[in-house]
Amino acid sequence: MTGTDIRNLILSAIALGICALLPLSGSGYWLSIGVTIAMFTVLATSWALFSGPTHYISLATAAFFGVGTYVTGLGFETLPFWSLIGIAGVIGAVLAALVGLATLRLSGVYFVIFTLGLAELVRQVITWFQNKSGQKGLYVLTDISEAGIYWMLLSLATAVFLTGWLIGRSRLGFALRIIGDDETVAVHSGINSALSKVLLFMVPGSVAAMTGAILAPRYVYIEPSLAFAPMLSFQVVIMALLGGAGRLWGPLVGVIPFTLLWESISSNFPQQTTLLLGVAFLIIVYALPRGFVGLLDDLRHRTRARMAEGVA
């Protein structure tokens, strides 16, 4: 048991090391794809940490992300960059806790749309303040390089995976699996489901805000319509679900092929990008009903069955 754990840890560390070398390859192109993959891995994995076990589909990613970009946008001239990431994380977590407390009573699609409305509300309020204060568009002119951003995202991804792994082994993680299976059983087994969910919801909130803070220098120009674009929330959900939200590594196997597919469609069919992306979505939904994780599981079962047959 622990043997496998150690093996997995070592393998992950090696994989991480290889990923960390990407900027040294000198290809800015692959680096920019790497940044995209790292960004969505962070967002989708942390999203799935909450949504996987609880089955709540949150569309609030853009809200937290946008808040994070604004933290950097407003503070990068006065505070060191690393502290801004921390501040963004704290603000994201606090915001998520508030949202979590408010949304406990909602179920299913009501929660989905609530989070969507929340993201829009945050955006409207920030816009309004910006307007009242006569604050212009924020220019984040820094000398932080793309490689720097990539490494920061990679570290954040590592932190997210470690958090996920630790949660998975903790009572909290076990509680959440029970809640996901049957919330009634959970509360009658002594689980404070409300508290567990709020605690867990703080993870994607905080992580998305930190991601926004890290990426702000890349976008240079911060304005509400770009920072809070609702498309981001949808992309995260889609990638996590395509991968499979039930496993810690599920979103990762969704993000990588999906980003590459997106990239290859964008580059090869510039006139029909949107159309073909849509078609690709549909094909994936119909061909991979349980996401890439489901596909891999099926393959594994099949080979195992075949091996068992061989033995018999």
């Binding site: 290809s27 800015g28 192109y29 920019s32 794809i33 995209t36 960004m39 409207q124 816009t127 309004w128 910006q130 307007n131 006569g134 604050q135 212009k136 568009g137 220019y139 002119l141 793309e146 890349r218 976008y219 240079v220 120009y221 304005e223 509400p224 319509s225 770009l226 674009a229 498309m231 990239e263 964008s266 580059s267 510039p270 006139q271 990008t273 949107t274």
Partner: protein
């Protein structure tokens, strides 16, 4: 509609065939372009950005290409849709620079997207001639990105000249002293309103209604009704495309009686004139052109022939001019990007808008600031260092 689509299709076909044949006979110059085809800014890019790229490439190739050190090299356009998403813009520019290895890249569309792409342009040494990026941050930006140039003017100039036009009208006794001002609550609108507010106060105007509305508001009648209740003499809206139409329509319906009526982005679009017909007469907006200038007329004719649509009266010609600047620089110094960038800094370029050169902040000093619909065309009424502005007329009702 059908005819237009057919025309577009024919143009596209002609372009591809010309490219195909071009590719056979000589080495091509690859020009990259990434701008929205989908997403919130797609509507604007479809008017001001994409048709000009198509037009320019078609014209250059019709001539046999660009003269690079004596050889005629046709141009090949590589287009990407950035989906109005800065992340996608960054990826697309990266792709153009490193995978397609294009010679030059046309500026993206929209302040946020242009500025997001600027570091990539800088890293790979591509000069960036920004068009649809209006900002007062030009000194800071050109300091950080020395090869970034600006063509469409500054926020301050747009706002200042609008105030100046109204001030002149007041001095001439045509206009009272009361201003109603609204702005779309987005970086662009906020910045313009902020500058204008100060200038209006400075000029001794009384702002009787000052308000903002969020992007995506579906009913702007309260904004017009509120302004109307304040009985202004002039109405100024720092607006975005869908709202520009909605505000003007509401003004028509409410019969807002003002001597000057100004709406921002999309006012110079041909669709605006088509939509409001005679009611558009006297409506002011940003930009404008010298419509009597033969070069512009020739450009507009070619634009319609090749792309099936009329150019707008602001960013269209400037976008085209930015390509002419590339064209002339390449023909002057060749395909070396560093040399082209240096040439941009020092040269003067002869464009559809007249001569263009860049100052020490990489800023074009000659641009149109205010235009006005007069008899079905959007004529320039105020500019910085441009000739051919016409006198402004009073907004005389909506019929």
């Amino acid at each position: 509609m059908k005819r237009r689509t057919a025309l577009k299709f024919a143009a596209a076909l002609a372009l591809t065939t010309s490219l195909a044949t071009g590719a056979v006979c000589a080495e091509t110059i690859k020009i990259g372009a990434a701008a929205p085809k989908t997403g919130p800014l797609a509507g604007g890019a479809a008017v001001s950005q994409w048709p000009n790229v198509t037009l320019w490439a078609a014209q250059v190739n019709e001539r046999g290409g660009l003269n690079v050190g004596g050889t005629m090299m046709p141009v090949e356009i590589i287009e990407y849709d950035d989906q109005t998403n800065p992340g996608e813009t960054i990826k697309a520019i990266q792709r153009l620079a490193t995978q397609d290895e294009v010679n030059f890249i046309v500026s993206p569309y929209g302040t946020g997207l242009v500025v997001a792409a600027a570091p990539i342009f800088a890293r790979y040494g591509y000069p960036l001639i920004a068009v649809s990026a209006i900002t007062d941050q030009q000194p800071a930006l050109s300091k950080q990105f020395p090869d970034m140039f600006f063509t469409l003017g500054t926020t301050s100039a747009l706002a200042e000249d609008t105030v100046k036009i109204l001030t002149d009208m007041r001095e001439a006794g045509q206009l009272g002293n009361k201003i109603a001002m609204v702005n779309v609550a987005d970086a662009f609108g906020i910045e313009l309103a902020d500058v204008a507010r100060g200038k209006f106060n400075e000029a001794g105007f009384e702002i009787v209604y000052d308000s903002s509305y969020p992007l995506g508001t579906q009913d702007l009648s309260p904004v017009i009704k509120g302004a109307k209740a304040a009985a202004p003499d002039a109405y100024v809206a720092w607006s975005y495309p869908p709202d520009t139409f909605a505000l003007t329509e509401q003004a028509v319906i409410e019969d807002l009686q003002v001597q000057a009526f100004y709406t921002a982005v999309a006012t110079p679009f041909p669709a605006f004139g088509a939509r409001f017909g005679a009611a558009a007469n006297g409506v002011m907006g940003p930009g404008g052109v010298n419509v009597d200038d033969a070069r512009f007329q020739e450009y507009a004719k070619a634009h319609e022939a090749v792309t099936g649509a009329k150019p707008d009266f602001w960013a269209s010609a400037t976008t085209y001019a930015s390509l002419e600047i590339f064209e002339q620089s390449i023909e002057a110094v060749g395909l070396d990007r560093k040399a082209v960038a240096d040439h941009l800094r020092t040269g003067t370029f002869d464009t559809v808008l007249g001569p263009i050169s860049f100052d020490e902040n990489n800023n074009n000093q000659a641009f149109w600031t205010v235009g006005q619909w007069q008899d079905g065309v959007f004529k320039g009424v105020a500019s910085r260092n441009r000739d051919g502005s016409v006198p402004v007329i009073l907004k005389d009702g909506w019929q």
